[in-house]
Symmetry: C2
Subunit: 363 residues, 2 copies
């Protein structure tokens, strides 16, 4: 058995788990936009109703659910509650065949060790009808015993790479990402380095899950992505990161931070297209794709909301690399740039993808 | 399925999980005294070697260990490592019958939600060869799915009651514990109320574990107790709490706190005798007792060490009930009393009990 080598050092620390919501999940910022979340929930319910094999319910005394990259907050608890209720209601339907024995439910909340599990545990409802456990560690490695999971859920998490690709921070590499903090407007070498990192991460992710999920078990992946054929630079989250990068370069030009410091700061996120995930699933070979949906999100109507969301998302990482002092000036510049570029930003692409995978019986 | 109603409110908050070590586990305070811990470890190894049925290893693809009331700190990790290694070495012995397949190991660290799971997760060794999970909640209720555990360990935890017995804080009850904070020098009614609370807690504890532990599974309980036939007031941990109570009453006499405030403060601990645990196991009926040892501890040689240990143990609870202001004066008084009474304290009884239970096959 090979076990999860915990991600350590600066990169792990650099992922404030709160960031996830801020960076890509506009969906909860207003009643209007919450519709996207509601839609994802409905897709999960339908997936369980239509694609979860009866045999799995009949053969498991305990039905195990894992939420990978769970973060903390009401969304974490609601997502799990939604899955639990859908499976339970399916059990009710087969109550006769189950000899009136609904299985026990055990939910594993996973995230990096630096996630606030204390807060997460406090926020679990007291009247929950499932057994809860927290599992620390990177989902790019093994986290659970073999054949122990029946349903895996991961939302707004797999766009975070396991780390920044090494080449983009190597002066002597053609993929050196000088003067930029992300790949979407960089040269092909940089984009390829990011893509290679994502491919490797997805390979490890799917390999680990293939071992952990029982045959017939389901996995739902929700992530912000780029539609097939759309250039990375047309994606709104990427556009916004580019603006942040240009603000950092402005500070460097003013001598407030060194340009070299910017060269060595890169965001460890990559937005996949559906085709890229499909290819990863095919290479892995242990899952079938049972469903895919694009969930286009309404573009934000308010520039200051975008700015403050994004500040919440990236502030922790910036502080860690550049120190606290620059924060106010940086985000001042940032807010202005977002405001100035708002009409361009509104042309950006903002879409989440929903994938439903099923663990194959063979292999 | 009935699920753990989380203990809430002041009592739960009042259990600083660190307290456990301080209150009863002198065993780690010096090399000399660490021998007691080493002895307990050896008992666990022997228990696994001699009493863990081969069939359990052969029938489980994942071997599940739970540490109940795990707290945080090096002892938590070491205790689990000891169990893991002993079971793994037994698997090596039966490697041929296991078709060279050592099972996966999953370790569940349980404690109250208020335990610092963040710190616990950080302290887990990166090269651990087991899957780790944290499980928040009171072990006086269900925590795990049915038939899901193979080995349960609980050390220095079950002497903490689920709460203070209500009668001792009821002015109109004959068990009202006026002017005292513990039962060991109180009237029979108070002692009986504490004992009844302990009986009820142990009933719930054993009932929950009987469901969770597979037939043939083992449970090791280590707790500070009183030898059969020894009066509660002769136990060193109890004597020390009595001194704390008398210091609080001194403060009340000086008008620094109200006497009523002392009346409503009681320590939720009860030290069982082996006979009491045996009776609880017999009433429950689902376990056999496979082994019992008394682990007498060397009496502390240094009064100031006792005082500082105990301050660490109870400070949180005192602060919560009486406020921060009284702490220095209280523990000043406390240190003096421990010093004055040290020769009497040295006559006190300090012993941990080790029980090995096995889940019966029937019922």
């Amino acid at each position: 058995m090979a076990l999860a080598a915990e991600e350590t050092g600066i990169l792990q620390e650099a992922y404030p788990t709160k960031a996830r919501d801020g960076l890509s999940n506009y969906a909860n910022s207003s009643t209007h936009e919450r519709k996207a979340t509601v839609f994802a929930k409905e897709l999960i319910k339908t997936a369980i109703a239509e694609k979860l094999d009866k045999e799995i319910l009949l053969s498991s005394k305990t039905f195990c659910i894992a939420d990978l990259g769970c973060s903390v907050g009401p969304n974490t608890v609601l997502a799990v509650q939604n899955i639990f209720e859908a499976v339970e209601s399916k059990c009710q339907y087969y109550l006769h065949e189950l000899n009136s024995q609904i299985p026990d439910f055990q939910v594993f909340f996973n995230d990096y060790t630096s996630n606030d599990f204390n807060l997460l545990f406090t926020s679990l409802p007291n009247d929950r009808r499932y057994y809860a456990a927290g599992v620390p560690g990177s989902f790019y490695g093994p986290l659970f015993p073999e054949n122990s999971l029946h349903f895996v859920h991961s939302s707004y998490a797999i766009q975070w790479l396991s780390g920044v690709p090494k080449e983009v921070m190597n002066k002597n590499s053609p993929a050196w990402n000088k003067g930029k903090i992300h790949y979407s407007k960089s040269g092909d070498e940089v984009v390829l380095a990011y893509k290679a990192q994502c491919d490797k991460d997805m390979e490890q992710f799917l390999q680990a899950r293939a071992k952990e999920i029982v045959c017939g078990g389901l996995m739902v992946l929700i992530f912000p992505g780029v539609p097939n054929g759309t250039h990375h630079s047309q994606s709104l989250p990427n556009m916004i990161l580019e603006l942040l990068g240009s603000c950092l370069m402005d500070l460097a030009r003013k001598g407030i931070i060194s340009e070299e410091k910017v060269d060595y700061f890169n965001m460890p996120t990559y937005l996949m297209s559906p085709k890229e995930l499909e290819a990863a699933v095919e290479r892995n070979g242990c899952f079938t794709i049972e469903g895919m949906e694009g969930l286009p999100l309404p573009l934000p109507s308010d520039s200051s909301a975008v700015a403050s969301h994004l500040r919440a998302a990236v502030e922790g990482m910036i502080k860690l690399h550049f120190g606290e002092k620059i924060l106010d000036e940086l985000f001042d510049c940032y807010r202005k740039k977002i405001d100035e570029n708002f009409s361009i930003l509104k042309s950006g692409n903002l879409v989440n993808f929903f994938f439903l995978l099923k663990r194959r019986a063979a292999n």
